[in-house]
């Protein structure tokens, strides 16, 4: 192939030269070039190595369908993208592109030995050969195959770019800005509809860009559309998927074409909802299947036409055309008239429209009807072809430096298929056309079968006098699938296209078979001697072309990856060196290490400080629900296991919430603020779930109740002050509340002020110590926290985090729903039957507590564990067995749910769910761990101050 730039042709800007490199070598192109056209213009024909056989490959196409010319672009600083299609890479100053899948170089690739060993690599080879011995697969076969086969290298650095996303609405979305798409846009624009017109290319126009006759029309039309206020034009934008209810995902490339990417987003994800979708995606020309059809320089006729008329590049100085379709003739004639020498037009058809033949003759072009190319000379570039009559006679050689294939046209029905629109086979096209839509969608132009490329033959492979088993004629260029692979698949019993596809991998590459599916179908149809329609069609799935992960993530990257909820006290914790953990969406302080402390040391210190003095803890994340209305107590009585109607205003109660199946789903301490007003608390992670569940019962089961629920989680900052000195710390700050134990007992709530801020002050304890939970309006949380912190200095106040909170509550045997319960634990299993109102006729989950499997014996029950070696801390989640000497797999009777080092007790403690646990008090259980078996005694889950005397300080 000896391509060259023609003077005065194409749309590139000759006044704007652009320097770039390919595999380290410098070249020059022009503004408006693609990497493919610029390299072609520099005489480069070799673009890459094939996936499996490492065969030299050049350009097949000029657009999104390109299967061969995949390159990596490295912009430095982590901006590296593999597997870009060279025709889709816009040229910019300094572009640095590399070929892929070759070693040590594109010209000399050791992997090409695979090509000569090709007869040992038939379809299904990997599956058949590398199965045994099994252990070799992971260690030897797969790594070796991965090194040899494959596409570009994955990036190794973090992507420094940002990405954006948006939603958009329009009356009419048009995908594809070729002549048909532009016409549709003009029509919708005139009807005053809000139109979005998107196209994947940098220039709008599609096929019109390669048709000088349409240049004036294109310019006027695009100007009209650009000036219309109701039209949005999106260039460099790929509609990647078509989803329910006319929802289209599209990615707009913003900076990849710029020499300096700047600081803006690299790509933008458009989430478009359209009233009507008009698909104008055009059609893709089909290659022809013959020996040597993958030699660099053999390409689609339409691609050559595009390179000539859009980019001013002739693909060769002596170009042969192999056609089974009129469009190849038209392309050849147009190119000839533009000054490209056409060596010959070969057509398998005995008769071709006289006008085409006459025009070719008039231009002095040699024509060979009823003939086919049966071989291509050259390995890294075309040197000539061998042609014979269809019956194999009259073999002759012909010099040329490029071969153009015109195998007919396949409408691009990808998005139509995503939308679940039905397809119908067309003999005229030799392809599937859109038939019945599933959405408000229509196809216009070539993708709807409404464009005339002329007529042609539908064939699987060109005839050859040679035995088809002796040569490679490629069907799927990207996955190196040949005609004989398809034949083999059929011989081995594959009858459906789904099986043939998986067996041969045809159509499974990144191009999803844009140029190969129909040829494979035709070959299978011939081999099976069944009509194409009987073989089926594989389903197209998004994305239409490969997209970056960044584009799909949109702005959900780094700090915006997912919402992180922070309390008003969070900044204080950060300033004081807290180590954080995520609890549901919340960021919570886990512990506050001092210099040199690890978590263990910090937690020990925090625990002792609470037990001996006073600790301060940010409990703002606790879920809170205000239940208000005349029927509030009745409602809670129906929801929770325990009775609520007799609870006096000013008093609190521990509430246990079950699902209707009888299992614990949440718990929390709640207070009656007034006869018709309750302040509920839920677990941090359960807040939304509990509110949803309660709303469900209220709205749909008991809509007659006059009670309403409002989430107040975020209304209040909650400061837990726990420890024997807690009262001393807040006493000087609180006004309007008698803090004495007699006036303000455990499990009571009072309203007053603290540091001048209104508060709902709870006297509650999740530690077993004297404790208060100070609820103040969230905006004042930080202020009150700091005031309490200052007041506490004289008492040695210590901030503590969730880890210490967990240890302290475990010492008291208080459960954490979701840690000590797992959705299969009843109140009885958890030892919480005291919290169940036995006399209540009904509450959510009550009936299920009498289910046969729930009253059965042997259920897992929550117990305490004390290891025989007090220094050993069991692992949470560790499995428990009764007999450590039984054969593997052992019978597991439960697992450790909570386990900590207790600094207060100077030993480890644990809680566990154990089958029949309540009846095993004092028994030894076993915890098998790697290399050892640990032993522990079953005890009651109450390790500290069983009589509860410390609650009063």
């Amino acid at each position: 192939m000896s391509a060259y730039r023609l003077d005065g042709m194409g749309r590139v800007n000759r006044g704007a030269p652009v320097n770039f490199t390919f595999d380290g070598k410098s070249y020059q192109g022009f503004a408006g070039d693609s990497l493919a056209s610029a390299l072609l213009a520099n005489g480069v024909s070799l673009f890459g190595r094939s996936f499996k056989y490492h065969r030299p490959r050049g350009l097949l196409g000029a657009g999104a369908e390109e299967p061969n010319a995949l390159v990596s672009v490295d912009r430095g600083g982590g901006r590296y993208t593999p597997n870009l299609r060279a025709p889709a890479v816009e040229l910019y100053e300094g572009l640095n592109a590399r070929s892929q899948n070759r070693w040590p170089s594109l010209q000399t690739d050791f992997g090409s030995i695979n090509d000569r060993l090709g007869r040992f690599f038939p379809a299904g080879f990997y599956n058949k050969t590398f199965m045994w011995p099994r252990s070799f697969w992971e260690k030897l076969y797969e790594p070796s195959i991965r090194r040899m086969a494959g596409l570009g290298d994955a990036p190794t650095e973090a992507d420094p770019d940002t990405y954006s996303a948006c939603y958009a609405y329009c009356d009419v979305l048009i995908v594809g800005a070729g002549p048909a798409g532009i016409d549709a846009a003009l029509e919708a624009c005139a009807a005053r509809k809000h139109v979005i017109l998107i196209d994947e290319n940098d220039e709008l126009g599609g096929g019109a860009l390669a048709d000088p006759a349409l240049a004036a029309w294109l310019e006027t039309s695009l100007r009209d559309l650009a000036n219309a206020p109701n039209v949005t034009l999106l260039r460099r934008t790929t509609a990647l998927g078509y989803y329910h209810d006319n929802f289209i995902g599209a990615v707009e490339r913003l900076t990849d074409h710029l020499a300096q990417p700047g600081h803006g987003a690299r790509e933008q994800l458009w989430r478009i909802r359209a009233g009507e979708v008009v698909l104008a995606q055009g059609a893709i020309e089909r290659p022809l299947v013959f020996e040597g059809n993958d030699v660099p320089g053999v390409m689609l006729a339409s691609a050559a036409r595009t390179y000539l008329f859009r980019f001013g590049v002739a693909v060769g100085r002596n170009v042969a055309v192999m056609a089974v379709h009129d469009s190849g003739w038209k392309d050849a004639l147009a190119m000839a008239k533009a000054g490209v020498r056409i060596a010959a037009i070969i057509d398998l058809r005995e008769t071709v429209a006289a006008a085409l033949v006459d025009e070719a003759k008039a231009l002095g072009i040699r024509t060979e009807l009823g003939s086919a190319v049966i071989g291509v000379a050259g390995r890294q570039a075309v040197k000539g072809i061998e042609v014979s009559r269809a019956d194999g006679s009259m073999r002759q050689k012909l010099a040329c430096d490029a071969v153009l294939m015109a195998g007919g046209w396949t409408p691009s029905v990808h998005l139509w298929s995503h939308s679940l629109g039905k397809l119908a086979w067309s003999d005229d096209w030799g392809a599937y056309l859109p038939d019945v839509p599933n959405e408000n969608c229509r196809c216009v132009g070539a993708c709807g079968g409404k464009w005339s490329f002329g007529s042609g033959l539908n064939i699987g492979a060109l005839p050859s006098p040679r035995d088809p088993a002796t040569f490679k004629a490629f069907v799927d260029f990207q996955n190196d699938v040949t005609a004989k692979d398809i034949a083999l698949a059929v011989r081995e019993g594959m009858k459906s296209v789904e099986h043939i596809k998986r067996y041969t991998t045809n159509g499974m590459a990144t191009d999803q078979g844009k140029t190969s599916n129909l040829n494979a179908l035709q070959l299978a149809s011939s081999a099976l001697d069944r009509p194409v329609q009987a073989i089926g069609l594989t389903t197209f799935r998004p994305p239409y072309t490969p997209q970056t992960f960044g584009a799909l993530a949109g702005h959900a990257k780094d700090a915006l990856f997912q919402p992180v909820r922070k309390t008003g006290i969070d900044p204080w914790a950060e300033e004081h060196g807290a180590v954080f953990e995520l609890v549901a969406q919340w960021r919570r302080a886990r512990y506050f290490p001092k210099a040199g402390e690890d978590m263990h040391a910090a937690v020990n210190r925090e625990c002792l400080a609470v037990r001996e003095g006073v600790g301060i803890f940010d409990a703002s994340t606790l879920g809170k629900i205000e239940v208000v209305g005349p029927d509030a107590a009745e409602f809670l009585n129906r929801m929770y296991t325990n009775p609520w109607k007799q609870l006096e205003p000013g008093r609190c109660r521990y509430g246990l919430l079950l699902r209707e199946d009888g299992f614990i789903t949440d718990d929390g301490v709640s207070a009656r603020m007034a006869p018709d007003r309750f302040h509920l608390t839920t677990t941090t992670g359960g807040a939304a779930r509990v509110l949803n569940m309660m709303e469900d019962y209220l709205q749909t089961e008991w809509p007659d109740l006059n009670v309403w629920l409002t989430s107040t989680t975020e209304q209040y900052a909650v400061i837990a002050l726990q420890g024997p000195k807690a009262r001393d710390v807040i006493a000087p700050l609180v006004a309007g509340i008698d803090l004495s134990p007699e006036a303000f007992p455990h499990m009571a709530v009072r309203e007053g002020t603290i540091c001048g801020v209104p508060t709902r002050l709870f006297r509650v304890s999740f530690t077993g110590e004297l404790g208060f939970e100070i609820n103040v309006p969230a905006a004042y949380g930080r202020h009150v926290w700091e005031a309490v912190w200052a007041a506490g200095q004289a008492h040695g106040i210590t901030p503590y985090g969730t880890e210490t909170m967990h240890v302290l509550r475990a010492e008291k045997g208080f459960i954490i729903v979701g840690q000590d319960t797992d959705g299969t634990v009843t109140p009885f299993d958890a030892g919480l039957d005291w919290a169940v109102g036995k006399k209540k006729p009904d509450f959510v989950g009550k009936r299920s507590m009498a289910r046969p499997d729930i009253v059965a014996s042997g259920r897992k029950q929550l117990v305490g564990l004390l290891t025989d070696d007090p220094s050993v801390v069991l692992e949470e989640g560790a499995q428990i067995v009764l007999d450590p000497n039984q054969p593997v797999p052992m019978k597991m009777v439960g697992h450790v749910t909570s386990s900590y080092w207790s600094a207060t007790l100077g030993r480890s403690i644990a809680m566990a769910l154990v089958a029949g646990g309540f009846d095993r008090m004092g028994e030894t259980i076993y915890v098998p761990m790697p290399g050892k078996t640990l032993t522990a005694k079953v005890v009651k889950p109450m390790f500290y101050d069983a009589e509860g005397s410390r609650l009063n300080g």
Partner: protein, 90 residues
């Protein structure tokens, strides 16, 4: 992303504002303790799970907050209609 019509807001809105809430028209028995184990099991666990037309509940959780009923085809994922909670099966 499907569109769902909220019968309370009378607007057709993106799925992201809604949450699925299981099969519709399964009323909680008035006196659960009077039910046999079999009847309770039927209420608690047994669902129609049809291939095709399905009466189901949704909640406009990030909107008006209401639970409502819908008829959706489980094969095509298309909504036939939505209606307010408490209205008879459609």
């Amino acid at each position: 992303m499907i569109l769902i019509h909220c019968p309370y807001c009378d607007e057709t809105l993106p799925e992201l504002e809604f949450a699925y809430a299981g099969e519709a028209h399964i009323a909680r028995p008035l006196d659960p303790s009077g039910l046999s184990d079999e009847d309770w099991e039927r209420y608690l666990f047994i669902r129609a799970n049809p291939r095709g037309r399905h009466n189901e509940r949704w909640r406009h959780v990030h909107g008006c907050g209401r639970f409502f009923n819908a008829v959706r085809d489980t094969v095509t994922d298309k909504f036939e209609l939505t209606y307010k909670a408490g209205e008879p099966r459609k």
